[in-house]
C-alpha cells in the first residue's frame, strides 16, 4: 500500500530504503535518545534500548502502565500507574526515585537541565532539586502538565482554568495565569518569554510572560498532543491538524496577530512532531503511519515512512541531529541515519 497517487509518488524524494527497521513488538508511547541509543518507552512495563545496529535490549521499569516520560539526554524519568517514579540512564540502569504514599498514578514528569525533577500525582506537584528535601505544591484541580522554565528553578503546573507558576525555593506565593478550560501539556519557549499550553479542547493557549498577555491559538480539528520547538525557538510545531501547524515565536509579540505556517498537508491528521535540534527541518508523523521530513523554509518534503499502519506515536532526534527514531502505536519502529 502506498501513501500517494502515482503522480505524487514520482515527485517526492524517498529515503524509506535507508531506514533501519526495529520490531519492538509492544505498544510504544514515546522515544528519547540516551547517548547513541534510542530508548523506546513502552505503554507498559518496559523501555526498549536500541543501538545503531537496531539491536534491542529490553529493560523493565514499571509494574504497570507507563503514564509519562521526560528526558534530558542523560536519563529518562518515567511515572507509572504503579505509583512509582523511576529513572533509566544510558547504561540501562534503573533507579527508583519516589513512590507515592497512596500509590496514586504518577501522571506527569518534567526535568530541569540542572538535574531537578518534578512530578505530579492528582492535584499535587512535587519537586526534587539537589540534596534538598522534596517540596510539594497543591493546585485546585488535577495537574494536567508540568514544565520547568529554562532559567531558574521555576515550575509551570497546568490545571483546570489556568497555569500556576511556582518557585519551589522561594516563599513567595505562586503566580496564576488564568484561562478558562482544562490545560494539559505545558511548555516554555526556549527564550523564556512565552508559555504555551495544549488544552483539552482543540486549541493552544499562550501567555507572554512579561505582561501575561493572552495568545489564543485555535482552529485545530483535533486535540494537540505533540508540540516541538524549532531550533533556536523561532517557531512551535504542533500536531492536531492535517498539516503541521507552525506558530511563529521569533518576534517579541510571538504569534499574536499572525497566521501560522501550514506545512506538509496530507489526507491524515498529524499525530507527532519533532523539530531537528540544529537545522530548520522537522519530522512529522501522521495518523495513517506516514512520516515526512519537512524543510521549514519552503515546506519541501522527504518521505521517511509510507502510510498504511496505525498512527505514529513517537518521534525523536538525537542531540547531534544525525539520527531520527520513530515508532507507531503498535511498536513498529525504525531508525533513520542522516
Amino acid at each position: 500500500m502506498t501513501a500517494f497517487d502515482p503522480g505524487e509518488s514520482a515527485s517526492i524524494i524517498s529515503v524509506t530504503d535507508q531506514v533501519r527497521p526495529v520490531k519492538i513488538g509492544a505498544p510504544v508511547v514515546a522515544v528519547h535518545f540516551l547517548g547513541d541509543r534510542a530508548a523506546f518507552v513502552g505503554a507498559e512495563e518496559s523501555v526498549f534500548l536500541v543501538n545503531g545496529e537496531a539491536e534491542i535490549s529490553k529493560v523493565a521499569v514499571h509494574a504497570g502502565g507507563i503514564l509519562c516520560a521526560a528526558s534530558d539526554g542523560a536519563r529518562i524519568v518515567m511515572g507509572g500507574d504503579d505509583g512509582k517514579l523511576v529513572a533509566l540512564d544510558a547504561k540501562g540502569e534503573v533507579t527508583l526515585l519516589a513512590t507515592d504514599a497512596k500509590r496514586r498514578w504518577i501522571d506527569n514528569v518534567a526535568l530541569h537541565p540542572d538535574g531537578a525533577v518534578a512530578w505530579s500525582a492528582g492535584k499535587t506537584a512535587f519537586v526534587r532539586s539537589g540534596k534538598a528535601e522534596d517540596k510539594s505544591f497543591d493546585v485546585p484541580s488535577t495537574v494536567g502538565g508540568l514544565a520547568f522554565a529554562p532559567k531558574g528553578l521555576r515550575l509551570a503546573i497546568a490545571h483546570y482554568n489556568g497555569v500556576t507558576l511556582w518557585f519551589p525555593n522561594m516563599v513567595a506565593t505562586a503566580d496564576v495565569l488564568e484561562w478558562a478550560g482544562s490545560h494539559l501539556a505545558v511548555t516554555f519557549s526556549p527564550d523564556n518569554k512565552f508559555l504555551v499550553t495544549a488544552m483539552h479542547e482543540p486549541a493552544l493557549h499562550g501567555w507572554r510572560l512579561a505582561d501575561n498577555r493572552h495568545m489564543r491559538m485555535t482552529g485545530y480539528p483535533g486535540r494537540v498532543r505533540s508540540m516541538s520547538w524549532s531550533a533556536g525557538g523561532k517557531g512551535l510545531a504542533t500536531s492536531g491538524a492535517d498539516t503541521v501547524i507552525m506558530w511563529p515565536f521569533a518576534s517579541k509579540d510571538g504569534p499574536m496577530g499572525k497566521e501560522p505556517a501550514m506545512l506538509a498537508p496530507l489526507q491524515a491528521r498529524v499525530s507527532a512532531v519533532a523539530c531537528h535540534p540544529k537545522q530548520d527541518i522537522l519530522a512529522a508523523g501522521y495518523g495513517d503511519g506516514t512520516i515526512l521530513m519537512v524543510r521549514l523554509a519552503d515546506g519541501a518534503e522527504i518521505l521517511v515512512r509510507r502510510n498504511g499502519t496505525v498512527p505514529v506515536a513517537a518521534l525523536a532526534w538525537n542531540t547531534k541531529g544525525t539520527l531520527l527514531a520513530f515508532a507507531d502505536e503498535e511498536g513498529d519502529a525504525g531508525l533513520l541515519p542522516l
Binding site: 508511547v29 500507574d81 497512596k102 498514578w105 501522571d107 492528582g122 484541580s141 478558562a180 482544562s182 486549541a203
Partner: protein
C-alpha cells in the same frame, strides 16, 4: 453492538443516591466468578474490600467545555484516567465507573460524547442506577440528584425491597416509571441481581425502545401502574411534577435530509431540558438501521446493521427531560416522515 463498536471497551456507569447499595453491587461484581476482569474507577478508595490492581481513585472533577454549549460539562478526571487505562488494553475486559451519591450523571455520560480520544477507545454501555426502595420516594421529593439518576438510567436496580410492603413497593415503582418508563427495572434484596442484567447491556437496552409497549411494561413487571395513563397507539403521558418522557414512532421511513437537521436543531435549542434521547431509525432508501443516543445537547449516532428480512422497519425515539416541549417535538418529528 456488532461491528462498529466491537473494538471499543464497554463502560458501565454505576450511580445511585447515598446508601442505596452501590458499593454492595460493586463488591459483588468484583468478587463473583464471572471470568471477566474489570477496571474500576471509584470515588471512595476505602469502601472497596477487594484487591484489584485496576481500581483507580477519581476526584469527580467536572469541567465546563469552551464550546458555546452551556450545559456541556465533562468529567476531566475520567478523560485522564481512561487515557491512562488504554495503555493497559488487553488487561481488562470492561470498565465500571462509580459516581458519588450526589453526582449528576450528565457529565459522566457526556464525557463519552465530547472527548475524541475517549470515543475512539470506549463506549458507554449503560447507566445503572441503584435505588433504595424504602427511601427513594422521599429523595425524589427533596434531592434533585436522585431524580436525575433515575432519569438517566438504562437499568434500575431497586434494592432493599425486603424493607418495604407490597404497597410501598408498587408506589415507588410507579414513581420511578413516571420519570423513566424505559429503563429495565430489577427488584432486589442486597443487590442480588444477575450480573448479566447490569453489565454489557449494549444493543439490548437500545432495542428495548422498539419492543416497549404499555402492555409489555405491565406484562413484564406484573403489577399495577396505577397512576399511569396508558393511552392507545403507544403514546404515553406520565405525571411527575417536572420530569417527563416522550416516545415517538413511525412505521413509514424518515427522510434523513429532514430528520438529521431537525434532531440537531432540537437538541441545540432544547438540550438543557432534554436529559437523554435515544432512537432506532429507518430512513428511506437506506437498508441499514440507524441508532443514536444523546445527552443534553450531545448526540452520537451511526448505522448499526442491516434491517433483517421480515423485521418491521419502524422508527422509534424516546426523550426524557424537564418541561419537554412535547407538541413542538411531535410536530417536528411528523414533518420528517416521508409521505
Amino acid at each position: 453492538m456488532p461491528e462498529l463498536t466491537s473494538q471499543k471497551i464497554p463502560v458501565t456507569v454505576l450511580t445511585g443516591y447515598l446508601g442505596a447499595g452501590k458499593t454492595t453491587l460493586l463488591n459483588r461484581i468484583l468478587s463473583e466468578n464471572h471470568g471477566k476482569k474489570y477496571a474500576v474507577i471509584v470515588n471512595e478508595f476505602g469502601e472497596i474490600g477487594i484487591d484489584n490492581d485496576l481500581i483507580i481513585g477519581a476526584d469527580e472533577e467536572v469541567f465546563e467545555m469552551n464550546n458555546g454549549c452551556v450545559c456541556c460539562t465533562v468529567r476531566g478526571d475520567l478523560v485522564r484516567i481512561l487515557d491512562g487505562l488504554m495503555k493497559r488494553k488487553g488487561k481488562f475486559d470492561a470498565i465500571i465507573v462509580e459516581t458519588t451519591g450526589l453526582a449528576d450523571p450528565a457529565p459522566v455520560a457526556q464525557t463519552f460524547f465530547v472527548d475524541e480520544d475517549v470515543q475512539k477507545n470506549a463506549r458507554l454501555d449503560a447507566v445503572v442506577t441503584v435505588a433504595d426502595a424504602k427511601w427513594l420516594s422521599d429523595r425524589l421529593k427533596d434531592a434533585p440528584e436522585a431524580k436525575n439518576q433515575i432519569a438517566f438510567a438504562d437499568v434500575i436496580v431497586l434494592n432493599k425491597t425486603d424493607l418495604v410492603s407490597k404497597a410501598e413497593l408498587a408506589e415507588v415503582e410507579a414513581r420511578i416509571r413516571a420519570i423513566n418508563p424505559y429503563a429495565k427495572l430489577h427488584r432486589t434484596e442486597r443487590c442480588q441481581v444477575a450480573l448479566s442484567d447490569v453489565l454489557e447491556r449494549g444493543a439490548f437496552d437500545l432495542d428495548r425502545i422498539l419492543e416497549l409497549e404499555p402492555e409489555f411494561l405491565d406484562a413484564g413487571d406484573g403489577h399495577d401502574h396505577h397512576d399511569h395513563d396508558h393511552g392507545h397507539g403507544g403514546l404515553k403521558h406520565y405525571h411527575d411534577e417536572d420530569m417527563q418522557s416522550l416516545s415517538l414512532r413511525s412505521d413509514k421511513p424518515l427522510d434523513a435530509t429532514k430528520f438529521m437537521p431537525w434532531l440537531q436543531e432540537l437538541v441545540a435549542s432544547e438540550g438543557q431540558k432534554i436529559l437523554r434521547s435515544k432512537g432506532i431509525l429507518s430512513f428511506s432508501d437506506d437498508d441499514d438501521r440507524y441508532v443514536f443516543q444523546g445527552v443534553h445537547m450531545m448526540l452520537e449516532g451511526d448505522h448499526q446493521r442491516a434491517w433483517k428480512d421480515g423485521e418491521a422497519r419502524q422508527s422509534r425515539l424516546v426523550f426524557i427531560g424537564r418541561e419537554l416541549p412535547e407538541q413542538m417535538i411531535r410536530d417536528g418529528f411528523e414533518r420528517c416522515i416521508t409521505t
